[in-house]
C-alpha cells in the first residue's frame, strides 16, 4: 500500500522532470508560482519569525538566569535554534500547511472539473505543465524566504530582549557574533531545498490523482498537509544525522 503510493509518486516525478514543451510558458508559470507560493507567504512568515525569535529569547533568558552563566549565551542559543531548526523546519511545516493545501486543492479542482483531461487531450504533458513550475519556484524561492525568516527571528530576539530588558543589546549582539557559523546557514538552506521539494510535489500528487468531487478534494488537501509535514519531520531527522554527525 505505502510502496504502491511511493512508486506512483516516483513515476509522477519522472513526468514532472521532463523538459517543458514550451519554455516561454514554463517561465511565465514559474513567475506566477513564485508569486503565489512564495511572495504571498512573506508577510505571515515574517510575522511568525519575528515573534518566535522574541519568545525564544525570553525563554532562553529565563532558563539562563544563573548569574554564573555569561549573558552572551542568550544570543548564542537564540541564533542557533533559529538558524538550525526554527526557520528551516518549523517555517517549512507552516508552508506545508498554507501552500500544500493550496496546491492540492487547485490541482484537485482541475482534475475533477476535467481541466487536466483537457490539457492531456490537447497533447500537453499535464504533470510537467502543472507541477514543474511550482517545484522550481519552491526550490529557488524558499531558501530566500527562510533566510528572511532567520534575519527577522534574530532581529525579533534583539528587539524583545531590549524591550523587556532581559538581555542587553551588546550582550545579544556579542552572542550572535560569537556563535555565528556560516556552515549552520548552509546546513539550514540544504534542508530547506529538500523541504521545498516535498512542499511542491507531495500536495501536487494528492491533487493530481484525486477522484470524485469537492469532498474528495478537501480530503486530498488534508492528506497532502499531513504527509508533507510527516516527510519534512522524517527527512529533517535523517539530514541532521547525516550533516551534523
Amino acid at each position: 500500500m505505502y510502496l504502491e503510493t511511493i512508486g506512483k509518486y516516483a513515476l509522477m516525478l519522472k513526468e514532472v522532470f521532463k523538459k517543458p514543451q514550451k519554455p516561454k510558458i514554463f517561465w511565465e508559470n514559474y513567475f506566477k508560482e513564485v508569486e503565489d507560493l512564495g511572495i504571498k507567504s512573506i508577510g505571515l512568515v515574517g510575522f511568525i519569525s519575528f515573534f518566535i525569535g522574541g519568545v525564544v529569547t525570553i525563554q532562553t533568558a529565563r532558563n539562563l538566569s544563573n548569574p554564573l552563566i555569561d549573558k552572551l549565551y542568550i544570543g548564542y542559543a537564540t541564533i542557533k535554534s533559529i538558524i538550525l531548526e526554527f526557520s528551516p523546519t518549523f517555517i517549512s511545516i507552516i508552508l506545508a500547511g498554507i501552500v500544500g493545501s493550496y496546491i492540492a486543492s487547485t490541482i484537485g479542482t482541475m482534475r475533477i472539473t476535467e481541466q487536466i483531461d483537457a490539457l492531456d487531450v490537447m497533447g500537453v504533458n499535464s504533470l510537467n505543465y502543472l507541477v514543474l513550475p511550482k517545484l522550481v519556484a519552491a526550490v529557488t524561492f524558499y531558501p530566500f524566504l527562510i533566510t528572511i525568516s532567520m534575519f527577522l527571528g534574530v532581529f525579533g530576539g534583539w528587539v524583545v530582549g531590549n524591550m523587556t530588558g532581559m538581555v542587553l543589546s551588546e550582550d545579544y549582539l556579542k552572542g550572535i557574533r560569537y556563535s555565528f557559523d556560516s556552515f549552520d546557514v548552509f546546513y539550514a538552506l540544504i534542508k530547506t531545498v529538500f523541504f521545498a521539494f516535498f512542499i511542491a510535489t507531495i500536495p501536487a500528487y494528492y491533487g493530481y490523482y484525486v477522484k470524485g468531487g469537492s469532498l474528495e478534494v478537501g480530503r486530498a488537501a488534508t492528506q497532502a498537509v499531513i504527509w508533507t509535514s510527516v516527510s519534512i519531520i522524517i527527512v529533517n531527522y535523517i539530514l541532521t544525522q547525516l550533516l551534523l554527525s
Binding site: E114, Q115, A118, V121, M122, G123
Partner: protein
C-alpha cells in the same frame, strides 16, 4: 476515420461498455446517442485515451493507439479538439487566454495572428465581447461555446463534442450544430458528437450509433430513423408525442429530408 473494435470497460465490476465496435467516418458528423447513463461519455473518453479500456482496439486513420508511445500519442492529440460535457475551461485564464492556449503551446503564430484567430472563432460560435472575462463570469451556455471555440482553434482533424448544445437555447443550439457540421465538411474533419438531443440528431446526424446496456443497439443515418422497427431506437427516439407525430407524417410521405 476512427475505428473502434470490441471495446470493453467496467468500473468496480460494473460493466459499462460490453464490446462495442464502431467506425467514425471522415468528413461526417458521427453521433453517439443514448439515454443518460448509457455510457456515451465513457465511450468517448475511452477513445480519447482518458479512460483506459479493459479491452479493445482504437485506431486513428490506421494509427493504433495501444501501440503508440506516450510521445506519439501526444502527437495525435495535437490533431484532436474536444468539447467536454462540463466544458473544462481553465478557470485561471480569461476566455481569450483559454482559446489562445493551444496556439501558444503548439504554434509559432505572432500575437496579432493569435488575436485574430481568437476573434474569428469567437465570432463563429456567436460570441463577442467576452475576451477578457473569466469562465466563472459567463453563463453555462456561453462557456460551452467558448469550449467549442477552443476545440476548433487549431483546425483539428478529429473533433469530439460531448453534448455540445446542452444548456443552449434552441436557436443557439441550431447555430452550434450547423457550425460543427460546416467545419466537418469544410476541413474534412472526423467529428464525433455525443447527444440525446433529437433536434441535433435530425439537424446534422449523418451517422448515428445508439448505445444501450453497454451494446451498440442500432446504427444508421437520420432518414433511416423513421423507417426502422428497432425497438430500442423507437423507445429512445419516439418517447415524445411530438416525434411520434412526426414519425407518422414522415412514414405517410415515405421519405425525410
Amino acid at each position: 476515420m476512427i475505428e473502434v473494435k470490441n471495446l470493453y470497460k467496467s468500473f468496480d465490476g460494473k460493466a459499462v461498455l460490453k464490446g462495442i465496435s464502431a467506425v467514425f467516418e471522415t468528413g461526417k458528423t458521427n453521433m453517439i446517442i443514448g439515454r443518460s447513463g448509457s455510457g456515451k461519455t465513457v465511450f468517448l473518453k475511452s477513445i480519447l485515451g482518458l479512460i483506459k479500456p479493459d479491452k479493445g482496439i482504437i485506431s486513428f486513420d490506421g494509427r493504433i493507439w495501444e501501440q503508440m508511445s506516450a510521445e506519439e500519442k501526444r502527437q495525435i492529440r495535437k490533431e484532436v479538439g474536444v468539447v467536454f460535457q462540463g466544458n473544462a475551461l481553465f478557470d485561471s485564464m480569461t476566455i481569450e487566454e483559454n482559446i489562445k492556449f493551444p496556439m501558444r503551446m503548439f504554434t509559432q503564430l505572432s500575437p496579432e495572428e493569435k488575436k485574430k484567430r481568437v476573434n474569428e472563432v469567437l465570432e463563429q460560435v456567436n460570441l463577442e465581447g467576452v475576451n477578457d472575462k473569466y469562465p466563472a463570469e459567463i453563463s453555462g451556455g456561453m462557456q460551452k461555446r467558448v469550449a467549442l471555440a477552443r476545440a476548433i482553434v487549431l483546425y483539428p482533424k478529429y473533433l469530439f463534442c460531448d453534448e455540445p448544445n446542452s444548456g443552449l437555447d434552441p436557436k443557439t443550439a441550431i447555430i452550434i450544430d450547423n457550425l460543427i457540421h460546416d467545419l466537418t465538411i469544410r476541413y474534412n474533419t472526423t467529428t464525433v458528437i455525443n447527444t440525446h438531443d433529437m433536434n441535433s440528431i435530425m439537424e446534422i446526424g449523418e451517422k448515428i450509433i445508439l448505445l444501450k446496456d453497454g451494446h451498440k443497439q442500432w446504427e444508421g443515418d437520420k432518414s433511416e430513423i423513421f423507417f426502422t422497427d428497432n425497438p430500442d431506437l423507437n423507445d429512445f427516439v419516439f418517447s415524445s408525442a411530438l416525434f411520434k407525430k412526426v414519425k407518422e407524417l414522415v412514414q405517410k410521405e415515405g421519405h425525410f429530408d
